[in-house]
């Protein structure tokens, strides 16, 4: 199926038509991702990066909640049949604090777009709990990335393994700058993530993030396994370098223990 920009526009309009039927219950709908930034790549960008902010009373009224849930499920059924790769949108009570990793998209008008209801981005914040969590997940994420090291030494990759590598590299490019900034208690909007990271850790070389972007935009340049292997190697070294610099920085600031804990006698 040949996916065009028009398919994305139609899908968005169908989604908003569904939201319209819940208009008494919905305060606001925000888009994020490529549709919000206006850089949709037909066939490669997915649907539906959106947040529906409901009035809080919806979650206390069984009939209202179930009615709205029916509408949202119907919307998901239609969107998944659109031919464009689809994942469900998010929905929440508008009095909830959002999960802190979402802050970068809501803190920037260039990274999110209001498509329904009232402007409320200036009121969105992350809870203290999720800020604390977001500030530390990079450590377990780094350990999780180690499993990719195995693929570095495999002489040949299956097509499935190659796809896994591409997906993991894309995720790393997207989430590592957020996690690293959050670890340093920096909460920039999406477009400022890498500049802020460079400001905080000037000696970290972020070239690999640019190269992953290149891989997304010009996949033919990375068709050769050797080139992709080098990119994977660079990313794994980048993760280790980032981890080391973060540890040093956090130890300097007293947020982490300077020396290892001594064993109890």
């Amino acid at each position: 199926m040949n996916i065009t920009l028009e398919d994305y526009d139609k899908a968005l309009q169908a989604f908003l038509d569904d939201v319209e039927t819940m208009k008494d219950d919905v305060d606001s709908v925000l888009l994020f991702g490529s549709m919000a930034r206006g850089d949709v790549k037909p066939g490669r960008s997915d649907l539906m990066d959106a947040f529906i902010f409901f009035k809080p009373e919806v979650f206390r009224d069984r009939e209202r909640y179930l009615r709205d849930l029916e509408v949202m499920v119907g919307s998901c059924e239609r969107l998944s049949a659109s031919g464009v790769y689809f994942h469900p949108f998010f929905y929440c009570d508008n009095s909830d604090l959002v999960s802190a990793p979402f802050l970068p998209v809501f803190l920037s008008e260039r990274a999110s777009r209001l498509v329904f209801g009232k402007e409320m981005r200036h009121t969105i914040d992350g809870s203290p709990a999720s800020r604390t969590q977001a500030g530390r997940v990079i450590f377990s994420a780094r350990r999780a990335s180690h499993k990719m090291a195995y693929l570095l030494c495999k002489p040949e990759w299956t097509e499935a393994e190659r796809e896994v590598i591409v997906d993991e590299l894309m995720d790393a490019k997207k989430y590592l700058p957020i996690m690293a900034c959050n670890a340093l208690d920096i909460w920039p909007g999406e477009p400022d993530l890498i500049p802020e990271l460079k400001k905080a850790l000037p000696t970290v070389d972020t070239t690999v993030l640019e190269n992953v972007k290149l891989m997304r935009d010009q996949p033919e340049r990375f068709a050769d396994h050797g080139v992709l292997r080098q990119l994977l190697r660079d990313m794994l070294y980048f993760v280790e370098e980032l981890h080391e610099q973060l540890l040093n920085k956090l130890r300097e600031s007293g947020e982490l223990p300077k020396q290892r804990m001594q064993a109890a006698p």
Binding site: F59, E77, F90, C92, A129, T132, H146, M261, A264
Partner: protein, 270 residues
């Protein structure tokens, strides 16, 4: 036997002061999973005898557990060591945590919630490693691992992850794809994981998935929460008699009970 003997073989005498031998009872159990663990452990030791500080195993109440492989701080090519570990054929389904000794504190930091595909092992990892884990090779470093110290924050995070991820990734996705029974099963699991996190705040960590609801009821004497759990159980019990339409209605009702459970637990623990 050969493998067990190999693992039990001690390092040179000058390095054995804090060394703990392998948990023989656990590793002698003759089943396939144990054999795979033994093979992996033996390979890692053979390859990294000079670089390793410790190799530990932890069980986990919700997963099959994993290994913590601790390298010396002075190791220069850490990533090469990690690559080597993964070339030793880790047993399928077990987590592998490679780290330097000075990084052990990271085991007590918050982990990532990726619902429904992965359980966040981090909540119990340090506790189970310290109290139920075993040292398979090298030093017993468990005293150097702190345990998480803010369970209220952990519960807040878990509740928040539930609201952010379960709604989209489980409720909407599986209702739309008509996976009603899968949804009800998964929400059952997610309820239990959340009960486990709530119990940690009461110092209750030695749990299993089956017994969690009863333990939870003992510590959280809150009528609305109890009633929600009972309603959910009734839905589960009646599923066998339902046709597609009935299963769909049960799945939607489960979604409502999920929202109600989160709201009540949040208000009760505030």
């Amino acid at each position: 036997m050969g493998l067990t003997r190999f693992i039990l073989k001690k390092k040179p005498p000058e390095e054995t002061s804090e060394e703990t031998m392998v948990n023989e009872e656990k590793l002698r159990t003759p089943n396939r999973a144990t054999t795979e663990k033994l093979r992996f452990t033996a390979k890692v030791i053979a390859r990294f005898r000079n670089e390793l500080e410790s190799l530990m195993y932890y069980p986990h109440p919700f997963t099959t557990g994993g290994f913590v492989i601790v390298f010396k701080d002075e190791i220069k090519e850490f990533l090469d060591c990690v690559t080597g570990v993964f070339q030793c054929a880790p047993p399928r389904g077990l987590s592998i945590h490679c780290m330097r000794r000075s990084e052990l504190f990271e085991l007590a930091l918050p982990g990532v919630y990726l619902m429904p595909s992965r359980v966040n092992e981090q909540e119990y990892l340090a506790l189970y490693l310290k109290h139920k884990g075993s040292v398979l090779y090298g030093l017993d470093l468990r005293e150097e691992i702190p345990t998480p110290n803010n369970y209220g924050l952990m519960l807040d995070n878990h509740l928040e992850a539930m609201t952010t991820q379960v709604r989209g990734h489980i409720l909407l996705k599986w209702l739309a794809s008509k996976e009603y029974l899968l949804l009800i099963d998964e929400i059952d699991n997610q309820f239990r994981y959340l009960m486990g996190t709530a119990l940690l705040a009461h110092g209750v960590w030695d749990v299993n998935l089956e017994g969690l609801p009863d333990l939870f009821a003992q510590y959280f004497k809150n009528q609305p929460v109890t009633e929600i759990w009972q309603s959910f159980n009734s839905i589960r019990k009646e599923l066998d008699t339902k046709d597609d339409v009935g299963c769909r209605a049960a799945a939607f009702e489960t979604a409502w009970l999920f929202e109600s459970f989160l709201r009540e637990l949040r208000e009760y623990t505030r």
